[in-house]
């Protein structure tokens, strides 16, 4: 699939990463700002959606403001030959918002599977982490949950236009 992002795409990303204008014709407004045709802007955004450069377009809820304060990053050490299956299983759970394979850095960092777990509080997150541990069974060679204590910076992806 064509995943090449060109200079015009980058200008569109820069113009929309803080959100679309809440007006009846938001894409036409963005196009006017950039001196582009509205149809071109929509085609390019559709292409980025199809290629996966844009994950989704919609309302981005602030989970923290909604009371989901138990954002816990669970990290797991699973055997390399089982990580794909484990990742797909864990990633499909509805309380997991992100699930990634990342490198180990031995001896300081033994974990290779990351799953972001959401709940209303720590107890709920802990319960969900136990659920993941039960699913992984013997493939769970060790895990930890890292709770965030402070958000020091949170913005959408930033790309200079």
């Amino acid at each position: 699939m064509n995943t090449v992002i060109d200079a015009t795409d980058r200008r569109i990303i820069a113009a929309t990463q803080e959100g679309l204008p809440l007006t009846p014709r938001p894409y036409a407004m963005i196009a006017a700002q950039l001196g582009l045709d509205a149809g071109d802007v929509m085609d390019r955004m559709q292409r980025m959606l199809d290629s996966g450069a844009i994950r989704r377009i919609g309302a981005v809820p602030n989970h923290y403001a909604l009371g989901f304060k138990g954002n816990g990053m669970s990290v797991w050490d699973v055997p390399d030959d089982t990580i794909k299956e484990a990742g797909q299983t864990i990633g499909a759970l509805d309380f997991v918002s992100h699930c990634y394979h990342r490198p180990r850095h031995l001896p300081t960092w033994p974990y290779n599977l990351f799953a972001m777990v959401h709940g209303r509080d720590r107890a709920e997150v802990d319960e969900k982490v136990h659920h993941i541990a039960a699913i992984l069974g013997a493939n769970n060679r060790g895990h930890e949950v890292l709770f965030s204590t402070r958000i020091l910076k949170k913005t959408g992806l930033r790309i200079a236009g």
């Binding site: 679309l20 014709r25 802007v41 919609g58 020091l152 959408g156």
Partner: protein, 149 residues
Amino acid sequence: MNTLEKRLLNDFQRDLSPSPTPFADMAEELGVTEEDVIGVLRTLTERGVVSRVGPVFRPQRCGASCLVAMTVPETRLEAVAELVSAFPEVNHNYEREHRFNLWFVITADTEDHLQALLQHIEWQTGLATLSLPMQAEYHIDLGFPLQWD
């Protein structure tokens, strides 16, 4: 939160496809007016319940990106966090309860630029960085099911 607010939040995390009039499309599906949809989205954004209404980009498809962890002495945490957050390339920065207590995401246009930024942070702080780039993604973030009581 009223029913329309809940429905907009829960059902429209991913359905704002490029269309000349996306909010009118949503309104039609919900059986309300375009003004209602825009009004509620404005209110939710102003209240901070919605961070924004728009595209969610996938960092690695738009350049180089890396999750980075650092072990920062407690007394220096605020200063180091401030230094890190000051880079426009840093888009998330969290304090977490762990020996690795500072976690952030760096996104740059190229891998070289990313490595240069990491080196810069190490020089300026005198602290090591742990690079954890994504190797595979098992979940495409299509929104988050919100369970209302």
